[in-house]
């Protein structure tokens, strides 16, 4: 009798424990849930509502203003310029950073003390904040106090004085700050390529370039995909480097999309509705671009 009821009782006890387990689990996850809800999901909903409302910076929600915000956002006189500039900056930064960081990774992948030292020197800038790095380069590029001040005077140029100069000077700063970070990701990817593939290539008498093109690059595809997505997303959202180095200048030539959102919300226009509309556009565009990138990399992988 008791032998028959025992499994049932055990099952019941286990069920009871699982129920308290669920309760305990929820209690441990509660702070996470509060953070995600209060500081992420609600603001996310709020930005959508904002984008559909007449919402001056001071004064709060003044009611719906639906198509107007979006048409105002798109017809802002800097909108298309900032889209164009941000895309140009993103393409240049991504191509240069990925090529350079892969090169650096190949240079230092072997394990010796000298290469460890090199890796550390390439990585040190990535410990700096983007704002600190931008301030550092602001002084470095200065025509008064920078190390190239004399050179600039005698050759008659400034780093940040022309639109092209400002763009390339900023790209140089970003490459300096992020090359080590991407190099590290590349090293992790290189580490995942099995040794015997290289061994086989060597036995077949493949040259270094052939090995790189037919083995390293294809097998590195997941890493290249990840770094591309990271780099593209980061560059599309560029703000600090331009805010500090160029303030959008010269001649409004370096206004990025995020800078435009900031300007619309807090500088002059003070319109959170239009800023919200711009934010929603950026959010949707980023999702589309990221999905497209992941699809493209996956399709290539299937070939």
């Amino acid at each position: 009798m008791s032998t028959l009821s025992q499994p049932a009782a055990l099952r019941q006890r286990r069920r009871g424990r699982r129920a308290t387990g669920a309760l305990a689990g929820w209690l441990y996850a509660l702070p996470t849930a509060l953070f995600v809800l209060g500081l992420f999901l609600i603001p996310l909903a709020l930005v959508v509502q904002m984008s559909a409302s007449d919402w001056p910076l001071l004064g709060g929600n003044q009611g719906w203003n639906l198509p107007q915000n979006y048409s105002d956002a798109v017809s802002n006189r800097f909108f298309w310029d900032s889209v164009g500039f941000t895309l140009k900056y993103t393409v240049l930064t991504t191509v240069i950073l990925l090529a350079l960081s892969l090169g650096l990774a190949l240079l230092v992948q072997e394990s010796t003390r000298w290469k460890g030292l090199l890796r550390t020197s390439f990585l040190v800038p990535s410990a700096l904040g983007l704002a600190s790095a931008s301030l550092l380069f602001y002084v470095l590029y200065s025509p008064i106090a920078g190390p190239f001040a004399g050179l600039m005077k005698s050759w008659g140029f400034t780093f940040l004085g022309t639109p092209e100069g400002a763009l390339w000077s900023t790209i140089f700063l970003i490459v300096w700050r992020y090359a080590g970070f991407y190099m590290l990701l590349m090293l992790v990817g290189l580490q995942g390529i099995p040794d015997d593939v290289y061994e086989a290539a060597r036995i077949d008498g493949a040259s270094r370039w052939q090995t790189f093109r037919t083995i390293t690059l294809p097998l590195l595809r997941p890493t290249l995909a990840l770094t591309t997505v990271l780099c593209v997303t980061g560059s599309l959202l560029a703000f600090e480097q331009f805010y500090i180095l160029t303030k959008g200048g010269p001649d409004n030539s370096t206004i990025t999309i995020v800078q435009l959102i900031y300007n619309v919300a807090f500088q002059g226009q003070n319109d959170l509705g239009i800023a919200g509309a711009l934010s929603v556009i950026v959010l949707l565009a980023l999702i589309v671009i990221n999905v497209a990138q992941i699809r493209a990399f996956n399709r290539k992988a299937e070939d």
């Binding site: 689990g25 072997e110 003390r113 301030l135 992790v188 500090i244």
Partner: protein, 317 residues
Amino acid sequence: MSLTRTGAARAAAADPARDDSTRAIVAPHHARRGGGPGRRKHPTTIAGIALRTPYWVLTAALALLFLYPLIWTAVSSVSPLAGTNQTDGWGFGNYITLANYQAGVWVYLFNSVFVSLLTVALTLGVSLLGGYAFARFRFPGKDLLFLATLAILMVPYATLLIPLYVLLNTVGLSNSLVGVSLVLAMFQLPFSMFMMRISFESIPREMDEAAMVDGCSSWTVLWRVLVPAVKPGLITVGLFAFLAAWNDFMAPLILINDSNRMTLPLAISNLRGQVQGVVDYGATEAGVVVLALPCILLFLILQRHYVRGFMSGAFKG
């Protein structure tokens, strides 16, 4: 095999304290590998040295290129230069200007330290409890909550800061360092939750089950058994939260209006002034040194954790 390669490698293996972490984590596999581009054995003959010289020159030049801006800034912050306060020889004039800037650098330093420590504390607390919940418990909505946490990564920072500005205003946290810390901790959650979840999952369940059988509650198990075991994960999470909070520019820029509550990066960027030509370059340099020094020191001390953090970041995608 790697040990037989060079004397340097052998010395590094014999002296683990000097073995830097990048190598410790990233390199062993490469060292074992035979072929592949860029790794060919050079005999220690004159011809071998001649072959390696261009490589040494190239890499040394690259390393200098990366270190030069840092070294130049550190040196020129204490040396006489045009456009700086340092007119009469070497000294700390730039730092004194910085110290006396507006409310005084100590106020901004305090604000930065406060925001950084609070962000670290919040991030550690939430991700420790949350990581434990995600790794060890089953509860309704678990997968949804974890996905929502990771989704923070997909939403641009700037996009969220504007509604957060409005939201913090309505709950009375406008212009507040606590509000900034809450926001910064939220942005750290995807990485830190992911990190803590894998930290807990890498510990065998038998460890806490044994303690449970002995009558420990899950709370006691967490503190007595698991926290010591996930300490490396906690250090990584704390390091990243500190660096992110200490360096963050945009959240204080948008959420703080009161100049007495500005953090260091914001205050130093304001040194440049709004008008062209009144930039105090020397004080800016001093400020950059004050900003960068703790980060570089932490990086050098905790390099191993820094690299591990990047690597788990890499697997996330």
